[in-house]
């Protein structure tokens, strides 16, 4: 019959051929390959200072009859090191989740056991199917003064280890990063970029638990970020972008009052609007190119700047007026 045997890396392993006597003539194989007699002490197989590569199926056969007398599966591994445990509330006030992992692999199966104590009460942390090594808890009470203590024990055939974390309800609040970050150039504004985003979908109640945001942006060619903190709203217009330079933009979120900032969102790239012909695709482009070929006495057409769709912001209005005045001046000259 078959066995499984767990041994530590570096240990010396002695395998007996079942119930055979010490002086019986046997042959050992490892994964089907014969093992040299030098490793035998009588009918015992001696493996010194085992390493991971020696994991496998070991079989012992009676010398002459080649009967299978004993078989075992050797699994070489290590006892678990202290696990790494992290708890976080990305869905406040619903609850929190804890996730864990081992700093180094053990190469053999491990069992994890998690316990949560709130004051004197034991709470159940429900294990998630996906991802593994994660469990979640629903808050029964809000605004608790009593800390939570989460203990994680990891056990395998070679040993056990544990770690614990203690925290206040408020300390572990950390939303997920904002979603659907979009950055767009603003037509006729070479120094502006319009950024918009959405609350992370995991945050259940932004009405009662509003989020505030932190935006950072820089042109790709520079290392220094610029920052803007926004206490409400899910959009912002950058007004000091360098003309024509491609920007990288990210947003982070935080509960207005408690906890810590989320990780940065996925980065988006955008370049402010420029006057290069290849960027313009409206009728105005055609009028501009045709007008430049006519006589210089002709007043420049006003459609390009004062076009209804293109007028954005007070800067454009001033230009509109200026163009109107220029036309008036020329008209007076011609009268």
């Amino acid at each position: 019959d078959s066995h499984i045997q767990y041994e530590r890396v570096g240990a010396d392993v002695t395998m007996k051929c079942g119930s055979m006597d010490w002086d019986a003539a046997v042959t050992w194989t490892a994964n089907g390959t014969d093992i040299d007699e030098s490793h035998l002490n009588g009918s015992y197989l001696i493996l010194k200072n085992v390493d991971l590569s020696q994991s496998g199926q070991y079989s012992c056969y009676e010398g002459s009859s080649w009967h299978l007398k004993y078989q075992t599966y050797l699994k070489v591994g290590t006892p678990p090191k202290e696990p790494v445990l992290m708890c976080r509330s990305n869905n406040y006030p619903k609850g929190f989740y804890c996730s864990w992992h081992l700093p180094t692999p053990t190469y053999i199966p491990n069992t994890f056991n998690i316990s949560v104590i709130h004051g004197t009460k034991d709470m159940v942390c429900e294990k998630d199917a996906v991802p593994k090594n994660r469990c979640h808890i629903r808050y029964l009470q809000l605004f608790s003064t009593v800390k939570y203590k989460v203990t994680l024990t990891v056990t395998n055939a070679l040993g056990k280890n544990y770690t614990a974390v203690t925290f206040d309800e408020f300390a572990i609040v950390k939303p997920d990063p904002p979603e659907s970050v979009v950055a767009k150039p603003v037509p006729n504004n070479p120094r502006r970029l319009e950024v918009s985003w959405q609350n992370p979908s995991s945050w259940p109640d932004p009405e009662s638990f509003p989020l505030k945001f932190f935006l950072r942006y820089r042109p790709l060619i520079l290392d220094q970020w610029q920052h803007v903190e926004l206490s409400d709203g899910t959009s912002h217009t950058i007004t000091d972008a360098y003309a024509g330079k491609e920007y990288i933009i990210q947003v982070a979120a935080k509960d207005n009052d408690i906890g810590t900032w989320s990780d940065w969102s996925v980065a988006v790239h955008a370049t402010p609007w420029t006057e290069e012909p290849k960027h313009l695709t409206t009728e105005a482009q055609i009028t501009e190119t045709t007008s430049t070929s006519t006589s210089s006495f002709m007043a420049p057409p006003t459609t390009k700047i004062c076009d209804k769709g293109a007028v954005v912001g007070s800067g454009a209005v001033a230009v509109c007026w200026t163009a109107g005045l220029v036309v008036a001046a020329y008209s007076v000259l011609f009268i």
Partner: protein
């Protein structure tokens, strides 16, 4: 014994706040604005408390100033009003109940803090506590102002000693320190909770509401 009597007297004297004067300026100050100001005050106090608590816990000494210190809550500590509440219950609170809970809690917490102020050893702590108590009184008045402008009655004042006279004063130094620890903890939690309470109120009470109510009352 004696110390309990002194405590009771102190509390009664310090907590006899004058009746809140009718706010004449409430017609100009929309309830929405007052709620915003009250919210801002809680944030300011929470910030102040962090420094105050750090100093005070160091004054109490170990283990009170250790980060993971979680002493058991003895029955006596229940005198301090707790911010802890069932989630659904908290969500379902009426505006009146929400404001009243805050008003009551801070009135009592202020009371306890004032007693503390009279007992601490160092001048620095006394100064900090006095400053904090002044700000906290401002918060109580601010909440009262919001309630008045919305037409809600103020909860009965904390004139009576906050605990049954039969309860003994802390029999020893350590238990007294534990009471102080929990007082600061509850205060901190209340300030976190109030930020959320006032966020909710902000959304639900638009400035227009107060003018309608004042008209109805013949202002």
């Amino acid at each position: 014994g004696d110390s309990w009597g002194i405590f009771t007297f102190l509390c009664a004297a310090l907590c006899n706040l004058p009746a809140l004067p009718a706010l004449n300026c409430s017609e100009e100050l929309g309830a929405g604005q007052s709620i915003q100001q009250t919210y801002d005050l809680t944030r300011y106090l929470e910030h102040q408390l962090r420094t105050l608590a750090g100093t005070y816990l160091n004054y109490l000494g170990p283990p009170f100033n250790e980060p993971d210190f979680t002493p058991p809550r003895l029955a006596r500590a229940e005198r301090v009003p707790s911010a802890t509440v069932d989630l659904d219950l908290w969500r379902g609170l009426t505006d009146n109940a929400r404001l009243a809970a805050n008003y009551r809690a801070y009135s009592r917490l202020l009371c306890y803090l004032r007693v503390l102020d009279g007992q601490v050893g160092t001048a620095e702590l006394r100064h900090r506590l006095a400053h904090f108590c002044a700000s906290l009184q401002g918060l109580v008045l601010s909440i009262g102002g919001v309630m008045s402008s919305l037409g809600y009655p103020l909860p009965a004042g904390p004139a009576a000693p906050p605990a049954p006279p039969g309860a003994p004063a802390a029999p020893n130094d350590f238990l007294k320190k534990m009471d102080d620890f929990w007082l600061l903890k509850e205060l901190q939690t209340w300030l976190w909770r109030s930020a959320k309470d006032f966020n909710r109120l902000k959304k639900k009470v638009p400035p227009a509401v107060v003018t309608l109510r004042l008209e109805a009352r013949g202002f």
